[in-house]
């Protein structure tokens, strides 16, 4: 039998203290953790007794507690926000039972290369809230880039600015519930039928998370007709690792094509 101690803290500070210890990790939905070898893990902290499932859809900002499952997020957004980038990205993530179990906190902490959450969070300039007194808040970009922020810390939630946008999320999969080879997230803010601000994120390339800034710049001030022949391959240095069952060059071409198609889709084109 593996020697693992389980902890069931009743307060955030108790949980925070526990996960700061070496070899002790928190568990949200557990869908990823349960598949990993538990070597080196001496303790698991269950977060079920903590109030980390709050959802706040305010006028200015939106907040999702770290124990919200993908299904919780979809249910909260379904009535009025089906076009939101987070709804579009999570709607087909994993499969129905997994969406009932995968939590935002777990997904944010592990951020696998096939993540359907990372693209939207980067596009939305989301913040990761960490348990501390007072609470700490970091941009998701910093959270990804600074490993120290991920060690021994407890995520309490995700927040971002609520703003109108047009969005698309593409998953490169062979069947719906496949793990994507890559994802493309597009978030556009419009002014007078032209693109005023663009956020394009490619997840799963060699850099894992790539913001496509040159393509973003090329889109500003344009409408759908003016970008139909944009050559993303020329603008961006997109590279993939060779993966079993596929080809890096093929993925590069696919990604470039799907980036443009996703932009056009977000603009309402039938592509």
């Amino acid at each position: 039998m593996t020697k693992i101690n389980w902890y069931y803290p009743k307060t955030l500070s108790e949980a925070s203290n526990l996960v700061s210890k070496s070899g002790v990790i928190p568990i949200g939905g557990g869908t990823d953790l349960v598949k990993r070898p538990l070597r080196g893990i001496s303790g698991i902290v269950s977060l079920r007794d903590l109030d980390l499932g709050r959802i706040g859809l305010g006028k200015e900002n939106w907040f999702f507690g770290s124990m919200c499952s993908y299904a919780d997020v979809l249910n909260a957004l379904r009535p009025e926000q089906r076009e939101h980038v987070l709804f579009r990205s999570l709607e087909y993530a994993a499969n129905t039972p997994c969406r009932n179990r995968i939590t935002l906190g777990g997904s944010t902490a592990f951020v696998p290369g096939w993540s359907d959450l990372a693209g939207p969070l980067l596009a939305l300039d989301a913040f990761v809230h960490l348990a501390a007194d007072p609470e700490e808040r970091y941009s998701f970009t910093d959270y990804l880039q600074q490993p120290d922020l991920r060690k021994g810390k407890l995520i309490t939630g995700i927040s971002f600015r609520n703003s109108a946008h047009r969005a698309a999320h593409y998953r490169e999969v062979r069947t719906h519930n496949d793990m994507p080879q890559f994802t493309v997230t597009v978030l556009l803010r419009m002014r007078d039928s032209r693109i005023d601000e663009a956020r394009l994120i490619l997840v799963g390339s060699r850099e894992r998370f790539l913001r496509l800034q040159k393509t973003e710049a090329a889109l500003i001030g344009k409408n759908a007709e003016e970008i139909k022949h944009l050559n993303v391959q020329e603008l961006e240095d997109i590279r993939f690792h060779e993966k079993p069952g596929t080809d890096a060059e093929y993925l590069r071409e696919r990604a470039a094509r799907e980036i443009l198609r996703s932009v056009l889709k977000a603009l309402g084109d039938k592509v």
Binding site: W6, V34, K35, R48, T96, P97, C98, R101, H176
Partner: protein, 156 residues
């Protein structure tokens, strides 16, 4: 370790190892209708309802449970008193080898609880986490459609 849960309406004390998944705990306690397939959340053979939500029991550590409510396919109906959805699977020929059937029944049951009149697309999406190597899914989708009609009082 041990924990108290309700399984198919009965209060049960589960005993388990700290790294044990709910799939194995359930099977060790006699709930063999919960099938062991891929054990990584891909096939849906181990599907159960946990507090009303369809989840893969292979992806849950039993140690995370406390006073939770579990429903397996055997808790929905019995051989002599099958639930409408179970009867629909039989009537529509949606069962071949039967290994995926408990999970499929649970997925369909969960869908119809939330959405009594789902479209074919919604049914296929709800069953997207359940794999079947025999049927090609057509009969399974028909069975859920038939169950939906019967539950709404429209079926044969």
């Amino acid at each position: 370790m041990k924990t108290l849960v309700t399984i198919n309406g009965k209060s049960i004390e589960l005993r388990f190892d700290p790294d044990e998944t709910l799939l194995h705990t359930l099977r060790n306690h006699g709930y063999t209708e919960v099938k062991s397939g891929c054990e990584e959340g891909e096939c849906g053979a181990c599907l159960i309802l946990l507090n009303g939500k369809a989840v893969n029991s292979c992806l849950i550590f039993t140690a995370t449970l406390k006073n939770d409510n579990i429903l397996t396919a055997a808790g929905i109906g019995t051989l002599h008193e099958p639930h409408i959805i179970q009867q629909a699977f039989v009537d529509c020929g949606a069962v071949q080898c039967g290994f995926c059937t408990p999970g499929m029944v649970i997925a369909g049951y969960a869908l119809l609880q939330d959405n009594p009149d789902p479209s074919e697309t919604e049914i296929r999406k709800a069953l997207s986490g359940n794999l079947c190597r025999c049927t090609g899914y057509v009969k399974i989708v028909e069975a859920v459609q038939e169950a939906s009609k019967r539950l709404r009082g429209e079926g044969s």
